[in-house]
Amino acid sequence: MKKLELRLSGFGGQGLITAGIILAEAAILDGKNAVQSQSYGPEARGGASKAEVIISSEEIDYPKVGQADLCLAMSQQACDKYAGNTQPNGVLVLDSGYVKNPPEFSGKMYSVPITEIATSEVGRNIVANIVALGVIAGVTNVVTRESLETAVLDRVPPHTKDLNKKALAAGYESAKNLLQREGE
């Protein structure tokens, strides 16, 4: 992998910036270069939220994501806005709980009930972002599972470590199931 561009989108409060940071930190643990950036709506209170991550084994010059290799959309609005700006042969990960109208897409599209998994399987909807990371890493191998776990545990408050570990695992699990179902 030379360079991989990811876009994580949804609404404010879903923890997508944190997810982006963790992803970038995992990449660093893997020995890669990483750049993370995010959009600040001038008044993004509760509105749209977007984090971008570029991972590369080489130097990263231009730090913004153009056509993403992978796009996570955790809201319908985000999906409508960003899914189109994804590589035709890229990957789309959707939170099926929020994205009821998935777009036409030529690449791979995974609809996962991310927030529902967080709520019902892990027990707290605030870890949906970590579930999403598990899904992403599960379907793409963009970062290693070990590094991702380390990165997650480094960032989250101590008393939530178990919770987050569980969330990550749940995400991976569902990715596995998906891939299996796809027959890959």
Binding site: I21, K32, Y40, G41, Y62
Partner: protein
């Protein structure tokens, strides 16, 4: 987070790296007033400074912040403030005071989209000329423009060092892209970072003249409380530090202020060049835009277009030599900036007709892309053929 200076890869934003650089460089006083997109610098130092006995104060506004920073520096602490556009405008009068009284201090300006309130969270490079000319009267200015997180750390250290060495305010001109983006960075160990501390007088208070320059044109500087009982004033003053009301003293003083920076121009002024040797078209770009330009140069070269890059690292003094040299070799220069044309004025002046100079300007709050640059280079190529 404690001062993260172990030599270990980590993910940091430009603003965070600025905090780390400040701590390592010995900044022990910060006064500020929040403003997007610079606030993380204040927030980081509010957390870190007290851990090492340093002082953080949130003042009532930017003017007061700048005043407090100058007062603290006179009292002996390495001092800094951080702000963005509107706050930078407000600080100008007191920045001039620091220049006139030769008080070391660092002013971080994380540039945002202007004029006025503009687009507070969006990037621009619209304060380059303001950094040079924002305060009234003639005065020297040193301003640095990092392009990466690591360089933000390095140039913060350098800003503190230069301020202390030259006894002058030094400005760090970040842009919002560099300030907010996080990237992998390995910071040097604190003990590997070279530091400069202001030179204190060795003379006794009885014979000491506080504004008598040393050979390097910079006067040694005692701290308040050291027993020198010196006077600092923004009025024209002579070597004793007292106002005299004489134009001749103004001439001596203001020319020396200018000269102490100018004579170090070759050392301070700096640009990075990238593939300029055989370049037919040279891009001039700084800060985040230089990253796009670098990508563009690589891509263009892959397509067989001979592009090169000059990246001014110091906005002021402007790296004249680097421009001078490509003006002699390139067929054309393109100055790419997120403003309506500021650096280009200097480039045109220095090129002095030897190579045509073209602008590439975006003010739509988006970072200029590598594609923008390649397209413009193609246009220019057709143009100069």
């Amino acid at each position: 987070m404690a001062a993260k200076t172990k030599c270990k890869a980590q993910l940091l934003s430009g603003n965070e790296a600025c905090v780390q650089g400040a701590l390592v460089a010995g900044i022990r006083f910060f006064a500020g007033y929040p403003i997007t997109p610079s606030t993380e610098v204040a927030e980081g130092l509010a957390e870190e400074l007290p851990k090492i006995g340093g002082r953080f104060i949130q003042m009532e506004d930017e003017i007061a912040s700048m005043g407090a920073v100058i007062g603290a520096s006179l009292a002996g602490l390495k001092s800094m403030t951080a702000t963005s556009g509107p706050g930078f405008s407000l600080k100008q009068e007191n920045i001039g005071f620091a220049a006139m009284t030769e008080v070391p201090c660092v002013v971080v300006n994380v540039q945002r989209y202007g004029p006025s309130t503009g687009l507070p969270t969006s990037p621009a490079q619209g304060d380059i000329m303001q950094a040079r000319w924002g305060t009234h009267g003639d005065h020297p200015v040193v301003a640095l423009m990092p392009a990466s997180v690591r360089e933000t750390f390095d140039l913060t250290v350098e800003a503190v060092n230069l301020a202390e060495e030259l006894r002058t305010p030094v400005i760090i001109l970040l842009d919002e892209v560099v300030g907010h983006m996080r990237e992998r960075v390995e910071l040097p160990a604190a003990e590997d970072v070279e530091l400069f501390n202001r030179v204190k007088p060795t003379e006794s208070p009885d014979t000491f003249l506080p504004y008598k320059p040393a050979a390097n044109l910079v006067p040694p500087m005692p701290a308040y409380g050291d027993g020198y009982r010196f006077h600092a004033t923004g009025l024209v003053h002579d070597e004793t530090g007292f106002p005299c009301g004489k134009g001749a003293d103004g001439n001596t003083l203001v020319r020396r202020l200018q000269a102490k920076v100018e004579q170090r121009q070759p050392k301070i002024a700096r640009a990075e060049t990238f593939q300029t040797e055989d370049a037919e078209i040279v891009i001039v770009a700084a800060g985040s835009v230089a990253r796009s330009a670098r990508a563009a140069v690589k891509e263009a070269r892959a397509q067989g277009i001979k592009l090169g890059l000059v990246r001014p690292i110091t906005a002021w003094p402007f790296p004249e030599e680097a421009i001078d040299s490509v003006a002699q070799t390139a067929k054309a220069l393109i100055v790419a900036e997120m403003n309506l044309g500021q650096m280009i004025l200097e480039v045109e002046r220095i090129a002095a007709g030897r190579a045509p100079v073209f602008g590439l300007n975006r003010i739509d709050a988006e970072l200029i892309t590598p594609e923008d640059i390649i397209v413009r280079a193609q246009e220019v190529t057709n143009n100069v053929r």
